[in-house]
């Protein structure tokens, strides 16, 4: 702590910070451009100039950049100083010389940091009378739009893209007043985090291209606090809609999870909500035809199909909320509720969950602080992208220690990078193929899943002699020692693993490494990726495995399938047989999946944008999401199930989400606390709900006048403390129910700093999410026994392992045009020693079925391994890993 003086006011400040950080944390309005709370200062824009005084007696002072002034004891600055104000106004005027001033046609307008800063400094008239410099804009792919003339050369984009997200295809070019930010040529941005440029860039150079296709101003959108449904990280998001069309997704700050950034899958996933492939009305099969029916009739038919309920089973879904799964479980009975995980997946997930009770599972904020990492058998970028971005920051921790030793504060980005250069810390990756994180890995290990498991066991044994030994090939021994040493000597070691390779021994090995470290007296973190939004939540329900139902040969009367395409969970032959065996198939889903097409009754289910519920993320954090679209006949699964149950006279007292959430908590002790994940629907601020619409929302009375000139009352929302209106207060709203950010004078996303307790700290207004597993069963758990002996590959056979694709493997984003345009075509990747030509069409056998694909040569893949993309649209699901034979066709 240090005592600092700002405009004569005395404050306590964090001495490890700079004066811009301190001033903004304290609520002063000091303009800035190049400083970013997650990326520190470089002093490029000169916008944060303040007067600094030597001591009390100094009246003259000198101009300094607040973002480069450490908050040391007795630092005295003035923001209001006349000269400083004039300097800042002059800087803006300079930045604006070549600015196109085209706010009306600029997608940033109304949420532009440059507009806010211009207003804040008071610059109003442009005196420059000469021709403006102009640039050519680039095509940067389906996500990001480029309008280079608006650039103010703050360098934030390249600092994020290269320095923070570690991708290389965006750079600054040229010099002086012609500096250009773009790619070396037109082309699709390669980073999985490119969408963040729209929020990082303080101007309208980089904007959300998908928003541009149905453009609506920030103030005209209706927002809701939501959770990304596209993977198990559980990033917090703010979708915005107008007229029933979801327009975009913005990052919603949660300092424990996603912080300031989300991945492109999450940001652009919303497009599927608007898809024509969505199911909008109940459908019933009559003969070969499917007929659209009324909601009431659908509930009646559903109730009839349930009959006495004797031979009814329910299949849950890891992409549906806790409430939806629980409602189905309550409808069919716990012993007739099956999880809906893929074949073989459930065992792994339950194993991971039981390990999580015995270790410390770090949040992403903690992951970022780790200084040694082993990623064992997981391709983090493609399964849990935001976690990969956090791991990139972990890779910088060790080198940063050198900077700290050289007395360079961590906020001084330029200084730190001068000391560290491109150095990376001890990050190690063991995976059969190259991953997108390899560039920050000190070393990688390639092997088949069973070899990776052995490798993991060997690391554990090298850390602690009590851990079961393993046989790794001699060539890997040195690496094993190096990793063991790095993890043992680190301050915060971390192991990351997951279920991607479908290998139990890998998960056991990851646990053993952490157990071994704990026995050595080190406190280590263990993070497992979770592939789907509620994998963790559904796993904690301990339902029966889907395979049991699929392979049981029992004649079920009615099968109720909740938001799940079984054809993605098991092979087509098995699912076909299962569905044919069932008397009635009821599918509740959002899009017309292959399973829905086979159903006797299809009920249209709300997407994340239309529903409320609770999801549990990879660290067992229960988080609530709320609807952004007003209620319609497309309703939440739990509401359909409640409707039919009410009709049958069962669980009568469920009227709103709060009732269902409370029932989950009551019935299943593991979920104790989830009701506190967000305020209940009865929550009010000064008697009012929290508004979903900004106070400048326009056209309110004119929107529906073509239907009726009587302004309808805002739709009722029994499930959330939010209103579909502009009346009420957001400023004091609880963090977990904050729909959008706006503060006086701060129209851009940077309004966030008015909502944080301090910069980079938690939001004011309580916790965001509730941790369910606290790792309290710690203390010397038993080691997992040794891994099975590696098997030798049979002649001309390959072990097919699933490879995930951020764009392509997620089910619902198949219907999101921008994302699906980047999905790969089906392929089989092998190394060149397999004897195939790159691009050659091949057929391969698996589970008796023949699939076709093209060969992709990836030389890093070990002999005897074939990588097969998982979950692509219109490809058959394989039971992987499996030994396959590949034939040229």
């Amino acid at each position: 702590m240090a005592t600092v003086y700002i405009d004569g006011n005395r404050h306590d400040a964090d001495a490890k910070q700079n004066m811009l950080h301190v001033s903004l944390s304290l609520g002063y309005d000091l303009p800035f451009f190049c400083w970013h709370p997650a990326m520190g200062s470089i002093g490029a824009c000169r916008q944060c100039a303040v007067k600094q005084f030597k001591d009390e007696k100094d009246t003259k002072g000198r101009l300094v950049m607040a973002c480069l002034t450490p908050a040391l004891e007795d630092t005295r600055i003035s923001i209001a100083d006349q000269e400083a104000q004039e300097f800042r106004a002059a800087i803006i005027e300079g930045l604006m010389l070549h600015h196109p001033h085209d706010c009306p046609v600029c997608d940033e307008g109304g949420e532009c940091h440059l507009q806010d800063m211009t207003y804040l400094t008071g610059h109003a008239y442009r005196r420059y009378r000469f021709q403006k410099r102009t640039y050519r804009n680039q095509f940067l792919g389906p996500f990001v739009n480029h309008e280079m003339n608006r650039c103010i050369q703050c360098y934030r984009c390249v600092r994020f893209y290269r320095g923070y997200a570690g991708e290389h295809d965006l750079n600054s070019f040229s010099i002086h007043h012609t500096v250009y930010f773009g790619r070396h040529e037109d082309g699709i941005l390669e980073s999985e985090f490119s969408g963040n440029l729209a929020e990082v860039c303080p101007t309208g150079v980089f904007t959300d291209r998908t928003l541009g296709q149905h453009y609506t101003r920030k103030w005209d959108q209706t927002y809701a606090p939501s959770i990304c449904h596209s993977c198990g990280v559980g990033c917090n998001i703010s979708p915005g809609q107008r007229d029933g069309i979801v327009r975009r997704i913005l990052n919603r700050y949660n300092h424990e999870v996603n912080g300031y950034f989300i991945c492109d899958r999450g940001r652009f996933s919303y497009e599927y909500v608007n898809s024509p492939e969505r199911i909008r009305a109940p459908l019933v099969r009559r003969g070969d035809e499917r007929e659209v029916i009324e909601k009431d009739e659908a509930v009646k038919i559903f109730a009839e199909m349930l009959g006495s309920g004797e031979d009814v089973i329910g299949i849950g879904s890891p992409r549906a909320s806790l409430e939806a799964n629980f409602a189905l479980r309550a409808l069919v009975g716990a012993d007739r509720f099956f999880s809906g995980f893929s074949t073989g997946e459930q065992r792994l997930i339950e194993l991971m969950l039981s390990i999580m009770q015995t270790v410390h599972v770090p949040s992403l904020r903690e992951v970022e602080a780790c200084d040694a990492v082993l990623i064992l058998g997981e391709d983090v970028t493609n399964v849990a992208a935001r976690m990969a971005l956090a791991l990139r920051q972990s890779a910088r921790r060790e080198p940063q220690k050198k900077a700290l030793a050289a007395r360079v504060p961590l906020w001084d980005d330029l200084g730190v990078r001068q000391v560290t250069g491109d150095a990376i810390g001890p990050v190690f990756i063991a995976f059969p193929c190259a991953t997108r994180l390899d560039d920050v890995a000190e070393a990688t290990y390639r092997g088949r899943p069973d070899q990776i498991a052995q490798f993991g066991y060997a690391v554990a044994a090298a850390i602690h002699s009590g851990a079961p030994p393993a046989n790794t090939d001699a060539s890997a021994q040195a690496l094993v020692k190096r990793i063991a040493e790095a993890l043992r000597t680190a301050e915060r070691p971390l192991v990351v693993s997951g279920a991607t390779l479908r290998n139990e021994a890998i998960i056991g090995a990851a646990a053993n490494i952490v157990y071994a470290l704990e026995r050595e007296g080190r406190s280590a973190g263990l993070a497992f990726t979770m592939p789907e939004a509620n994998t963790c939540g559904l796993g904690l329900m301990r339902a029966r495995a889907l395979e049991e139902a699929l392979e049981s040969r029992v004649q079920y009367g009615t099968v109720v399938i909740l938001e799940n395409d079984l054809y993605r969970r098991a092979t087509a032959a098995i699912v076909d047989e299962f569905l044919a065996r069932a008397g009635n198939v009821v599918v509740l889903d959002q899009v017309n999946t292959r399973t829905a097409a086979r159903a006797n009754l299809v009920l249209p289910v709300a997407s994340f944008a239309e529903s409320a519920g609770t999801l549990v993320n990879f660290e067992s954090r229960a988080q609530r999401f709320f609807p952004v679209l007003p209620p319609s006949d497309v309703q939440e699964s739990w509401r359909w199930i409640t409707d039919v149950a009410t009709r049958r006279g069962e669980f009568g007292s469920w009227n709103s989400l709060d009732d269902v959430t409370a029932a989950v908590e009551q019935e299943m002790p593991i979920f104790r606390g989830i009701t506190a994940a967000a305020p209940p629907s009865s929550y009010r601020i000064a008697g009012e709900k929290i508004p979903r619409q900004p106070h400048r929302y326009s056209g309110r009375t004119a929107t529906l006048v073509n239907i009726s000139i009587h302004e309808p009352p805002p739709p009722d929302d029994p499930d959330s403390p939010l209103a579909y209106s502009m009346e009420g207060y957001t400023y004091k709203a609880p963090a977990s129910a904050l729909p959008f950010l706006w503060a006086p004078g701060w129209n851009s996303a940077r309004a966030l700093l008015k909502f944080q307790e301090e910069i980079n700290g938690p939001l004011r207004g309580g916790p965001v999410g509730i941790r369910l597993i606290r790792g309290d069963r710690r203390g010397a758990p038993e080691f997992f026994s040794g891994a099975p002996e590696p098997v030798n590959a049979p002649e001309r056979r390959w072990l097919a392992v699933p490879i995930y694709h951020l764009f392509g493997s997620d089910e619902l984003t198949h219907w999101a045009p921008a994302i699906s345009s980047l999905a790969p075509q089906p392929y089989v990747a092998v190394n060149e020693r397999a004897g195939f030509r790159d691009g050659a069409p091949v057929a391969f056998q698996s589970d008796g079925a023949t699939q076709t694909a093209v060969i992709k040569i990836r030389s890093e893949i070990p002999d005897g391994v074939a990588a097969v993309p998982a979950g692509l649209r219109e490809t058959e699901t394989l039971r992987l890993p499996a030994w396959i034979s590949i034939e040229a066709i």
Partner: protein, 164 residues
């Protein structure tokens, strides 16, 4: 001598006559003066009314010299409107279908004249001088839904760019 009653004294009568004549003359002076002045009464509805230039009547969405719509769908008028009665939906111009000179144009532009208070804020906000107040004012209708004016009703005809 007996005093004759009923007769007013002579000087008083003369005074009254003079007074009346003067009053009449003053009155007729106004009449006569106005008899030779130009008429200010409007013969509405037989003849169209005349307005001052800055009269704020029904809005007109203007076109530019080449006939393109001036509105670029920036939503600023809708944001400025204090009675929230302007509703816009934007769409993108393409080279095959160019409606305005900007990136976007207003695919839908409604003004709800049930609510419009003719304050002129929208006109003031418009960066392209697209929305203007014209001189139309005959809004009366038996059916209030007709008071929702669509873009088609508000748009200047392609033939004569600047209109009032």
């Amino acid at each position: 001598m007996t005093r004759a009653t009923g007769f007013l004294p002579m000087p008083s009568i003369l005074h009254d006559i003079a007074d009346t004549a003067l009053t009449l003359a003053a009155g007729f002076k106004v009449t006569l003066k106005n008899l030779f002045r130009p008429t200010v009464t409007e013969d509405y509805p037989s003849e169209p009314p005349r307005f001052e230039q800055r009269f704020r009547g029904l809005h007109i969405l203007q076109r530019d010299e080449s006939g393109l719509e001036k509105c670029v769908a920036c939503f600023l008028c809708a944001a400025a409107c204090p009675s929230n009665c302007i509703y816009i939906e934007a769409a993108e111009n393409t080279s095959e279908n160019r409606i305005s000179a900007g990136e976007r144009y207003a695919a839908v532009y409604n003004i709800d004249y049930n609510r419009c208070i003719f304050c002129g804020y929208c006109v003031e906000a418009c960066p392209t001088d697209a929305i203007t107040h014209g001189h139309g004012f005959e809004l009366a209708t038996y059916n209030v839904t007709e008071l929702i004016y669509r873009k088609e009703q508000l748009l200047a005809s392609p033939a004569s760019p600047a209109q009032f």
